[in-house]
Structure formats: structure tokens, C-alpha cells
């Protein structure tokens, strides 16, 4: 038994929920002049007037209007606010492309050890050997998982890894005296891919998708020439399907001298089963906040390490972690190497998001090779099972699979029949799912699929949880048959109901007005 018994939630806004009745107050509105949650240690030196130490014109005239609250008020404010979030520790969060897998609590414990959390980033490497070794070991593990020999942990997120990847591509081509101007991305690609292409100074060229959801090889061939710097690809792609032509794709792109970039957002599908390096990719980014269990934090922090092939290696960002050879029986010493004459340089300050590395490393050590493979297998099993359950019922009719194949760790449905036959949009289905206590899938992505619903249950969910989710879909579609207005008005149970997003952009109120 489980608590996933599906009951039909309310479909009325008449009687507000308790949370809906709560007034919304910001911490600034709680502020009362003179209150404080902190006292500052006493001044144990001369209390010289500040303008004796710093010229008055460089000093602040009036203090910043920060909140003035006592500690109890501070704690209450943020505790109450926290309850206005849905979180992964409450229930299923099948947000496609985001890999909302469980965040093990032991990772938080090891990240918080003073030797990690209190280590200054400018500490001399010889006094930070544990940190460097952890990073080195994580690099080795990611290298093995990705099937590429060299790793830099530096990028701060997937998009940052992408930027690194294209800067590496640029450096690689320039080093060979080539100037290439275009980067290919499938029309199913994630928004960060084309945005990165522009930021890296390239032109985006879209590649079409074939009828199986993979790269359209003819289109790819027709667009591949010496001006192509790189092809950026996700595999399994954002449709949740594995591109079987990957070897041919690599051949085509490498054939014209381009590099192959792997957007690792979907690595969770294939760990231990297949490796981007073995598929022919030159550069891979890994989202440690997806496949490697770093908590998403409401939108970060994450980390986007990159793994690269030998030919890309000379251009990797500095500093790099190096291990001494331990010659003459000396201890093997780890160090930071800033040299890299061909390096693209730095992408950020210091050594990267070390706290994230500690969590990812703990995750890898917890699972081992077997466990990582189990994670991917279970993720794929869960996705296919949920898909099978959805197809059995009304889902098969109103929310068909966009590309009718086995899926990998996620799948993309099209809400087009629901829209045309029932008059409910994907947005409406998603909002009604909220009432059923589930976080909705990713919606309206990929753009290729009309009224897309991108569902990624991850390995975290139980069979019962998936059954309950399938049941909720079924009930919602039944509701839509009966009374589509329910969905169009949904949600009814959330702390606020549908919000006016247009207003927020038209007349933006982006900070608390004070005075």
C-alpha cells in the first residue's frame, strides 16, 4: 500500500484553501525600525570616525533599507514561504529534461564538513590536497562514465559547459588556422544550445528531425560543410529517444571537420550502457545537478563539468587539476596547473562549484558502477512503464506519444488531440495535475511537438507512484471529457491560482517599493 490513492480534488474556487487565505507579505513588509536578528561583535580597536579612514565622498550617505526583524520573525517568514513551494520531497516531480531525482541527504552531510565548506578557495594547493584529490577522482569517474579521457570541472552549469564547449571548438579550429562560423543544432534542441551558439559568436543552423525523432540525416548532410564548427546534440534527445544513427551522424560532422558536442542533460538514460565518447563525441557536458543528484535548489546551484577527447584537451580551461607522478617514492601530490598555453582560459573564479563536486562524488561512491547503471535502467524502466500505463487509458487517445517508439528515460506526448477534441490545452492538463498533488511534466518543449508534455519520472519514483500519476492523468482526461472547464480553471488547491504573467512583463514590478 502507499499513500498514492488518487482522490478527486476539489474543482471549485468558492471556499479558499487555508493557504490561499494567508496574506502575502514580504520580509521588507515585516520590517520594523530598530529590530534586529543579529548583533555584531564589539569593536575591539579604536572607534575612529569612519571619515578619518576613508574620504567622506566615498562613503555611503544613507543605509540600504534592509529588513529589520528579530530572529524568530526571520525564521517564521522563510519557513512559511517554504511551504508555498512544491518540492521533490513531497511527491513525484516528472519534469522532463530536468532529472528530478532524489537528493540523498548524506551528500549534504559530506558537503558541509568543515574541511570542505570552510576551505578557502585561495588556499595553497599543498594545504588543500583532499579537495584536489576529490576533484581529481571525480574527473576520473566522469571520464570513465563519458568515455572521454580529459575532464574540466570548472563550468558552473550545463549552459556554462556549452559555452566552454563552443569556445573549445573555436580554439581548436583557430589553432588549425580555420575560421568556421556555423553551429548545427537540431530543431528539438534545448534553448541553451542556440543561445550559447550566439554568445560564442557563431551562427545557429537548425537541423530537421526525421520521422523517428532523430536527426534528419539528409538535412544534416546538406548543411554540413567546411563552415560548420560544431554539431550540438543530446542523445537520447529531448524527445526521449535514442538516435540510432549516431555513428553516422558523427561520421558526417567529423567528415567536414566539425566537432561534436554532447549536451549531457540526458545522461541519466544511459549511464553504464553507452558513453558519449564511444558515440564519437568530442566534448560532453554533464549536469551534476541532474544525473548526479545535486539538489536543484529552486534553480541552482549546479555544475556542468566537461569531458573531452585528446584533440580538444590542449584548449581546456585553466586551472587544471594535475597529479604529481610520485617519482622517487614521494607522495603523489595534487596541484593546480595554470599554464595551458593553448587554453581558452578561465570561465569563472577559482576552481568551480566544489560543494557540488563533493555531493556528486559522494553520489558516485554511494552507487558505484552497478548503482549508476541501475539508476539509468530504473529511469528507463519507469519512463516506459508510465508510458505504457498512460497509453492503456485515455492518454493513448488524447495525449499520444509524439514519436511512437520505446522511450528512454523520458518521453514526449502531444496534447494536440486533447486540444482539438476536448478543448483543453497542455497547460490546462498541467495545471490540473497540480490539484492532484503532482508536479506537472515540462510543457511546450520541445517546440517541434504541438502542445508537448515531456515526462521524466526518473528512477526515484516507485511503481505505486507511477500508477498514481497514471491514474491522475486518466481522471483528469475523464474530467476533461465531462467538463473541460475544470481543467481550464485549474488549479484550485495551490497557494495561488493562475497568475497574470503578461502583467508582470508589461508593467514589471521587480522589487519591493520602499518608503
Amino acid at each position: 500500500m502507499s499513500d498514492h490513492t488518487t482522490r478527486t480534488p476539489r474543482a471549485t474556487a468558492e471556499v479558499p484553501t487555508p493557504q490561499q487565505s494567508e496574506p502575502v507579505t514580504t520580509i521588507f513588509e515585516r520590517s520594523v525600525r530598530g529590530r534586529r536578528a543579529a548583533t555584531v561583535p564589539p569593536t575591539d580597536v579604536d572607534e575612529r570616525p569612519l571619515d578619518e579612514l576613508i574620504p567622506a565622498r566615498l562613503l555611503r550617505e544613507r543605509p540600504a533599507e534592509l529588513p529589520e526583524v528579530s530572529e524568530p520573525e526571520l525564521v517564521r517568514h522563510y519557513n512559511r514561504l517554504s511551504r508555498r513551494n512544491f518540492d521533490l520531497d513531497t511527491g513525484p516531480y516528472p519534469l522532463g529534461s530536468c532529472t528530478m531525482k532524489h537528493n540523498p541527504r548524506v551528500n549534504e552531510r559530506v558537503a558541509a564538513l568543515p574541511g570542505h565548506a570552510r576551505l578557502h578557495p585561495a588556499q595553497e594547493p599543498k594545504r588543500a590536497q583532499g579537495a584536489l584529490e576529490l576533484m581529481w577522482r571525480l574527473e576520473r569517474a566522469l571520464s570513465e562514465i563519458c568515455g572521454l579521457p580529459h575532464v574540466s570541472l570548472q563550468p558552473s552549469a550545463g549552459s556554462h559547459g556549452e559555452l566552454a564547449g563552443l569556445l573549445l571548438t573555436r580554439a581548436y579550429h583557430e589553432d588549425r588556422g580555420e575560421e568556421r562560423t556555423r553551429v548545427l543544432t537540431p530543431d528539438t534542441s534545448h534553448g541553451t544550445n542556440p543561445a550559447t551558439v550566439t554568445m560564442a559568436g557563431y551562427e545557429v543552423v537548425k537541423v530537421a528531425t526525421d520521422e523517428r525523432g532523430g536527426v534528419d540525416l539528409d538535412d544534416l548532410r546538406s548543411k554540413s560543410d567546411e563552415s560548420v564548427a560544431c554539431l550540438m546534440l543530446t542523445n537520447p534527445n529531448t524527445l526521449g529517444v535514442f538516435d540510432e544513427n549516431i555513428v553516422e551522424i558523427a561520421r558526417i560532422v567529423h567528415g567536414v571537420g566539425g566537432t561534436l558536442y554532447y549536451d549531457g542533460a540526458n545522461l541519466n538514460a544511459i549511464m553504464g550502457w553507452s558513453r558519449p565518447g564511444d558515440m564519437g563525441f568530442d566534448i560532453v557536458h554533464v549536469n551534476l545537478h541532474k544525473s548526479f543528484s545535486q539538489p536543484h535548489g529552486g534553480g541552482g546551484p549546479g555544475a556542468g563539468p566537461i569531458a573531452v577527447s585528446d584533440r580538444i584537451e590542449p584548449y581546456l580551461p585553466v586551472p587544471r587539476i594535475v597529479r604529481g607522478d610520485g617519482a622517487n617514492g614521494a607522495e603523489r601530490r595534487f596541484d593546480l596547473d595554470y599554464s595551458g598555453p593553448k587554453s581558452i582560459g578561465r570561465l569563472r573564479g577559482f576552481q568551480g562549484n566544489f560543494g557540488v563536486f563533493a555531493r556528486a562524488y559522494a553520489y558516485i561512491r554511494s552507487l558505484g558502477g552497478d548503482g549508476l547503471r541501475d539508476a539509468s535502467e530504473t529511469a528507463v524502466l519507469n519512463a516506459n512503464y508510465l508510458l505504457a500505463r498512460l497509453r492503456q487509458g485515455r492518454g493513448g487517445k488524447y495525449l499520444p506519444l509524439a514519436f511512437d517508439r520505446l522511450c528512454m528515460h523520458e518521453f514526449v506526448l502531444s496534447g494536440s488531440p486533447a486540444k482539438h477534441e476536448l478543448g483543453v490545452k497542455t497547460l490546462d492538463v498541467a495545471k490540473r495535475l497540480l490539484d492532484y498533488g503532482f508536479h506537472p511534466p515540462t510543457i511546450y518543449f520541445p517546440l517541434l511537438v504541438e502542445e508537448a508534455l515531456m515526462v521524466e519520472p526518473t528512477e526515484t519514483e516507485t511503481k505505486e507512484g507511477l500508477d498514481a500519476l497514471a491514474d491522475a492523468f486518466e481522471q483528469i482526461l475523464a474530467e476533461a471529457e465531462r467538463d473541460p472547464e475544470i481543467l481550464r480553471q485549474a488549479p484550485f488547491t495551490t497557494p495561488v491560482r493562475r497568475l497574470d504573467e503578461a502583467q508582470a512583463s508589461r508593467k514589471p514590478v521587480l522589487r519591493q517599493p520602499l518608503d
Binding site: R36, E61, H120, Q129, D278, R346, D500, P508
Partner: protein, 470 residues
Amino acid sequence: MSRYTSATDADRKAMLEAIGVGSIEGLFAELPAEVRLDRLLELPDGLSESEVVEELAALAGRNADADSEVCFLGAGMYDHYSPAVVDAITQRSEFLTPYTPYQPEVSQGGLQVMFEFQTAISELTGLPVANASLYEGPSSVASAAYLAIGATKRSRMVVSRGLHPHSRQTLQTYARGFGAEVVEVGLEGGLTDAGELAATLDDQTAAVFVQNPNFLGAIEDLEELAEAAHAHGALAVASVDAITLGVLRPPGDCGIDVAVGEGQPLGGRLDYGGPSFGFFAATEEHLRRMPGRIAGETTDVDGRRGFVLALQAREQHIRREKATHNICTAQALNALGGVIYLSWLGKQGLVELGELIVRRTAYARERLASVEGVELLHDAPVAREFAVRLAAPVPEVLDRVAHEGVAAGYWLGREYPEHEDGLLVAITERRSTEDIDRLANSLARAIPAANDAKVTDSETKASVAEEVGA
């Protein structure tokens, strides 16, 4: 099945049956043989939780952290005290585990936090618009350059040598992508050389980048620098330290167009450099060119107050190749820590903290300058960090002082060849006068010793073994 998954053998069987596939292998049938891994990953076996903790604790134990040393390291990240409320709240599942608030109805907590964060950053910087966080400091500087290109349609970046070396290097890296040129202006007496700046600026200049306090700790005259930039139609970008904004004139009051900075000092962990957050604030006119998430206030269908991601049309998930930036996952949790920290300190607390640090820094600067073999590298006004010259090889001195349990500071020679003998010393509220005296005394011993000593091979070896905890 691992301890993080739930599919028992019975579950697997039932699920495969429902799928209509005979085995787990069957689910991977579409992977071509050539790309299948035909062996297990070569990774060590999984561990029980207690073993994981043991292993990581052993590694952690080989780092000299700021609890085990008296730490005067700064250079962009500082050993401030982070109150227990920050951890207590950021570790709540409700903040720790959700994704970016794409479904605002169930993300009001996170969205309101962003709104509050933006308010706090706007107040701190004196600029009307702030985003909800970027990755960290130096890449935020580079992101300001991207905005400047869009705003000015120019691509020449003039940077002060007082800007953090990591910021300059990151800007340089990004600039290769943007196709921007980066030109440096030197320091004079610790401060950005106003004459050289005037000479370097031209009408192709997109933006001028300065830091306050600058990398050598000196307090720049932001107003003067902003005027110089504006005289050429360039933007003025300042990378600012959030803590000292309690006492220093905010960039918004000085005519700065874009203020960015590293968020770690606002209650963040040192974490060997990350994760922290970057903040980004600007004048109203740059609103629609801002990078990253921005929360805005609105109402729901019943008229209830609520918050959403505003101006999403700037962002990659909507605008794709035309986006103002490629950022997606940012640093929301760290930014939450930042706004909790600022609310904890409060209006008066930030001022008092700033005053305390300025006074302690003044004490430390005088105290160190009184040590034989130590002299000031510059005498510009400072707030939280200052630079000195040592009359002995700095790395040697640092090693000796470290053996006495003190991390004396940051060796400027790492990044400034012209300051091979320079040491940057950072002061926070955690460094008492006693700590400062201890540093001074330790330096007083170490400088002559470092000059006297002829380091023999065997000594070196012994100390290495000790340092790695063998």
C-alpha cells in the same frame, strides 16, 4: 535496486510485462551495438552510507580549512560568519529540492525569495533593477560585457588592472566568443590610473570595468570613473563587494550603469570557491537586456498577490538564439542564503559590520606595517583588505606562517608579476585583534627566518609529508 531506487524484482517483472518487453535489455534495444558499453563501468563498488562519510571525511581532513587555521585569505571570497539560520532554512527540502519555478502556482516560495533578493540587491547597489542571480562573480563581469555589446553596439572593453584577475581572465575568455577586444588600464598608487584610463577610452569603447574595493583593497572613486566612461558613451560597470556596501557609496549613486559582484561574502560558505552566486543590477534602461531569471509581482485570477518569472522573453527557453544570455540553471539556493543573511544582519547590522571591518582593517594595516620587513604596497584608503610588501620571498614566508596555524593572506605574485613581493591581507569580523597580533608576530618571525634559511632537500620532503597528512 539501490537505496535510492525502489524497483524490486517483483516490480520489475510487473512493469516489464506492462511495457511488453521481456527484459531490461529490451528497453535498450535501440542502442546500436557499436555504441554499447560491453563491460561494467570501471568504478569502485558502491559503499554504505557510513563508508561514504568516512571516505569523504578522510579527504576533508587533508585540507587546512578556516576552522583549523586563522585565515587572512580573501581575494574575492571572505571568511565571514554565516549564521545558523542560513543553513537551517536553505536545507529545508522545500527550498533545497525544487527546480526553477516554471509552475508559479506551486513555486510562490521560491519566486517571492527571488523578489526579495532583487529588492535587497537593488537597495545595496542603489540601482533599480536586479536579477535573481548569476553563477558567481567573475562570470557576472563577463555577462555585463555581453549586455554592454548589446546596449552600445560596440565591442571594446576597457578594464582596470584593479579588477579581480579572475574577472579579467574570464572576461577575456568570453570575449573570444563575443568577438570583443579587452584593453587593460594600469594602477597608480593602488588605484585605477585615471590618466591612462582617459587616454585609453575611445568612441569604440563599450564599457569600462572597475572593481570596488579593487583587488589590492583600495577604494576607487567610482563617480570619477563612471564620468570618464560616460564621456565616451561607454557604460560604466563596477564589480562591487557586497559587505562593504554597508559603508561605501553604492554604485548607483556614482553613476555606474551595471553593478555586479560575488555573493559568497553574504553568508555563503567558502566551499573551496563555489557554489556561491553572482549578483547583477543595472539602471532601468537595461531592464530588457538583463541576463538570468527575474521575478516580478502580479496577481492571480482571484486577485491574490503572487509572483512569477517576469520578462521571460529575454531568456533562452523562449528566445533561443536571440536570448540576452544562455544561462538557465543559476544559483537560486545561494541567493536565498544571501537574502536571509542580509535580513539577519538588517539595516543597522550591515552598517555596523562594515564599520567594524573598516576599523579592524585599519588596525591590521598599521600593525603589520610596524613589523620589520613589512611595508605598505600602497596607501590608498582601504576597507576590508590591504596589500603589503614583504622583505623576503612571499611563498616561503607563507609556508612558515602556515606552520604556526595562520594563513597570512594571498600572494600577489600569483597574478601580478609586478608585485612578486606583495601580500594581500583580508580582515573580517572573525579576525580579532588577537588574531591580527598573532599574524604580525608570526610574520615578524617568518620574514628574517625565510631570508636566513637555505632550504635543504630533506627539510622540504619532511614538510611535504606533513602537509598531506601522511
